[in-house]
Point group: C3
Chain length 318, copies 3
C-alpha cells in the first residue's frame, strides 16, 4: 500500500463525494482495486483491522448496504456491531447525538450511519473522534455507492475522463444520483439526467449536468446509463400517473437502448423493480454491470474502512 | 477426515433428504459425529472455515435453527451474516433471485435459506455458484432437522436399520415429517404416521409409510416416537375442534406411552407446546432425547457446512 | 490476574448486587479496572475468551446494554450470538425454560438475559450449567449497571466509603436504583432517594436509605447524584401530572445543583430525556460522568464475562 501512503490520505470521515478531490477519489478507487483480490481467495480474510470496533447504525432498513459493509468489515477482521432502528433506544427518545456519544464512549473506531435526515453524518463527524461513514443521508449523499459505481466504470473503460453518463429516474429524491453527479463530474465525465419534470430538482443544472425529459434523447450516445430505483409510492399521482406509464416513458428497454452506444454500460444501484424502471432483458443483458457494482461495493467499503482507520497513514500492512 | 474424503462427497448443496443416498446420509452423520467433540472443548472453535462467508437468509422467523447454524458457523471460524425478513429489502420489492445474486456477487460461500415457498432453495441452487442449504422450505423439506434426528437415534441404537419410527401430528403441514420420512426410510427404518384425518396428506402411503388415526395404535411397539409441533392456529375448527381435544387424542402422555416399547426414544423438533402435543412428564422423562437433538443440530450443521464447502474434497484439516 | 485468582471468585452467575459481598464487588471492580486499558489499545482485542459461546437473549429492546455486552464479548474474542424477542420463537409459545435449555444444549458458556419478569435470571441460573448474567429483570436488579456506576465513582473518589449518593426519580420502577442501593450501601456509602410520593416504593427505608420528596433537600451535600430515566408513559396522570411538572420539581437543573457539593458527580444510566429529568447544561456540564459510565460499562462487562467463565479460577491469561 506504499503508493497510497505516499499520496497521503488524511480525512477522518467519508461524508460525501462533493468534498472529495479527484486525487482523493483515485486513492479510494486504487485501494479498492487492490482489495478486490482478497474476496477471491480461498480464505477471504486479512487481519488488517483486527481489534477495530465498527458500528453500523441504520435508521432506515437496508439489506444490501448493511450486508456489504458487514462483509467488508469481517474480511478485514474488524469487530462489527449492528444496530437497527427498530431495536434501538431511539424509540425511547434519546437524541441521536447522545446515542452517538455513547457509542464513542465504548471506544468505537468507525461509525457507519444511515439516516433519513440529510446532514446527520456531518453533524456526528464534527463531534466524534471516531471516523464517520455516511451510508446514506436523506436525499443528499450516498458516497460509497458512487465510489463503487465509479470503480465499476473505471474497470471497464480505464478512465472516467470524457465519458458520457446518463442518470435516469427520480433525480430529485435520489442520494445516489447526487453522489454520482459529484463524483463523475469531478473525474471528468459529462453527466446528463433524465426524468419526468416532477422528478428533476429545480436548479440541478447548477451541478453541471444537462437535463432531458425524454429517455431516448437523454441516453443518445451515452457510455454509461445509470437507472435509479423508482419508489413505487411516488407512482400514484403526485409525481407520476402510474407505474405502467412510468415504465412506458422512462423504463429502460432493449428498444430504448438502441439510442445508446453499442458498448454502453448499464448500471442500477438496486434493489431493482424489474419491469418498471428496467426491463429484465436489459438488467440481465450483456452490457449490464449491475452485479459488478455489488462486488465492487465490498471492495470499496473495505478500502474506505482501511483508509479512514489510518491504514495508509500508519502503514498497517494487509 | 480421510475416510470421508475417500467416500467422496460431491454435492454443492443440501436441498433435501429425498435426493440423498444412504451412503451420503452416512457420510454426513459420520462427519457430524466427529465434529461433536469440538463443542465439548474448553475452546470450542477450529479454524476450518476461516475466511468463508456464510449468509443466513431467513424469510420466516426462527430462533432455534438460525442460532444453531450461527453457532455452527462460528465454531468453524466462518464469517456469518444474518439477514432476516423484516429488515430485508424484500419489502422493497426486489425479487428473491436478485437478492441471492447480489449476495453471490459479494462472494458468499454458503447461503442458508428458509422460505415459505417450497422449492425456493432448489431454484437458488441452480443459479448460484455458492452452496445452498435448505433451512426449511414451506411444507416440503428441512433436511438438517432430519439429519440431526437420524444422528440422535443412531447414537442411541447404533443403526436405524429395522427400527420402527412413529411420527405424530400435523403430517400434512410438516416439512420435518417429510424430511424424516425420506431419511429414516432410506436408512432402512419402518415409518408410521399418526394424526387426525384432516392432518394426514392424501397419498402419503406412497412415501412408504403406514397411516394410523389412533395414537395408541400408531405407537404400538415403536422404537422412536417423534411428536410434531402443532400450530395453534390450526386448532380452531378447520383442522381440529380445539387445543384441548387435540391434547386428549394426540397428545403424548405417560398413559399413552405404555403402548410403546419400554426403551422407546421420544423426540420433538421444538419449540414444544407443553401440555398440547406432549405432556411435560414425557418431554422431561427418561426416554426423551429432545435436548440431544439440539446438541446434534450444531454438529450436523458443522458437518454440512464443512462438506459443502469442500472440506472433504480438498482435504482441509480441522 | 493473580491477585484476583487468589481472592477466589467462585460464583457461576451474576444475578444481582444484593447477594454480593463487599469483597466480591471489589474483585469485579479491580478486574474491570485492569480490563479498561484493552479498549484504549490500537488493537482492542485479547484472546481470553476465544471459543466461548455467549448468547444475548433480550426480551426487552435495548441498544445500550446489548451493544455494550456485545462489544465486551468481542474484545475478549468470544463468539457472541444475539437473540431478540421479535425474532424469537417465544412468539411461538415455547416456554422460556425450554428456550434456555435449548441454548444450553448447544453448549453455550454464558447466557446474558434481559426479561420483564423479576427473578427470571435466577430461575435459569438454577437449571443451567452455563453462567447466567442478569441484564435487567423487571423492576428488580440490573447488576452490571450498578457495577459500572460504582466503578465510575470509585475512579473519581478513590472509595465509596462514606460518600453520600442521592438517587432521583421513579425509584419504585427502577432496577437501576435497586441495584445501586444494594451496591453503594454494601460499599459503605450513604444512600438517599428522592422522588414524588407515587414513585417511592413502600418500605424502601428497609433497604437502608433515607427518603426525600423534595429535590433540593435530597441532594443537599450529596457527593453523587444519580438521575433516573423517567418513563414518559408514567407522566400522564397516574403517577405524575405531566412531563413539564416533573421537570419543574424533579429535573436536575444548574439552579437545583447549587445545593449539592461543589465537586458533586452527576450520573445517569441513559438513555436521557434531556429537559425532563436532566437539563442539558447539567448532562454536559463539568461534573457529569455520564459518558465515563458508558466506557466503564464495557470494562465491567468484560470483567464479569471473564470472572464467570473461570478466568480467575483456572488462570487463563489475557
Amino acid at each position: 500500500m506504499d503508493r497510497v501512503a505516499q499520496k497521503g490520505w488524511w480525512r477522518k470521515d467519508l461524508l460525501g463525494i462533493q468534498d472529495l478531490s479527484r486525487e482523493e477519489i483515485e486513492i479510494i478507487l486504487d485501494t479498492a482495486e487492490s482489495f478486490k483480490e482478497i474476496s477471491t481467495r480461498e480464505i477471504k480474510k486479512v487481519p488488517t483491522l483486527r481489534g477495530k470496533t465498527i458500528v453500523h447504525l441504520f435508521y432506515e432498513p437496508s439489506t444490501r448496504t448493511r450486508t456489504s459493509f458487514e462483509i467488508a468489515a469481517k474480511r478485514l477482521s474488524a469487530d462489527a456491531v449492528n444496530i437497527s432502528v427498530s431495536t434501538s433506544s431511539v424509540v425511547k427518545g434519546e437524541t441521536l447525538l447522545d446515542t452517538a456519544r455513547n457509542l464513542q464512549a465504548m471506544e468505537l473506531d468507525v461509525l457507519v450511519i444511515r439516516h433519513a435526515a440529510a446532514g446527520t453524518p456531518h453533524m456526528l463527524a464534527e463531534v466524534l473522534p471516531a471516523s464517520v461513514i455516511n451510508a446514506g443521508d436523506g436525499f443528499r449523499e450516498h458516497p460509497t455507492q458512487a465510489l463503487l459505481d465509479m470503480l465499476t466504470v473505471r474497470e471497464r473503460r480505464g478512465t472516467l475522463e470524457g465519458l458520457r453518463l446518463t442518470i435516469v429516474g427520480d433525480i430529485a429524491h435520489s442520494r445516489v444520483a447526487r453522489s454520482n453527479i459529484y463524483g463523475f463530474r469531478t473525474m471528468g465525465a459529462k453527466v446528463r439526467v433524465v426524468g419526468p419534470a416532477t422528478m428533476i430538482p429545480v436548479g440541478v443544472e447548477e451541478l453541471g449536468v444537462e437535463v432531458f425529459y425524454d429517455l431516448k434523447e437523454g441516453i443518445r450516445e451515452a457510455d454509461v446509463i445509470m437507472m435509479l430505483r423508482i419508489q413505487k409510492e411516488r407512482l400514484q399521482g403526485a409525481f407520476f400517473p402510474s407505474e405502467r406509464e412510468y415504465a412506458r416513458f422512462f423504463g429502460l428497454t432493449l428498444e430504448a437502448l438502441k439510442e445508446a452506444r453499442p458498448d454502453v454500460l448499464i448500471m442500477h444501484p438496486g434493489p431493482m423493480n424489474r419491469g418498471v424502471e428496467i426491463a429484465p432483458e436489459v438488467a440481465d443483458g450483456p452490457y449490464s454491470v449491475i452485479l459488478d457494482q455489488v462486488t465492487n461495493g465490498v471492495a470499496v467499503r473495505m478500502a474506505v474502512l482501511y483508509l479512514l482507520t489510518g491504514g495508509a497513514r500508519i502503514g498497517v500492512a494487509h
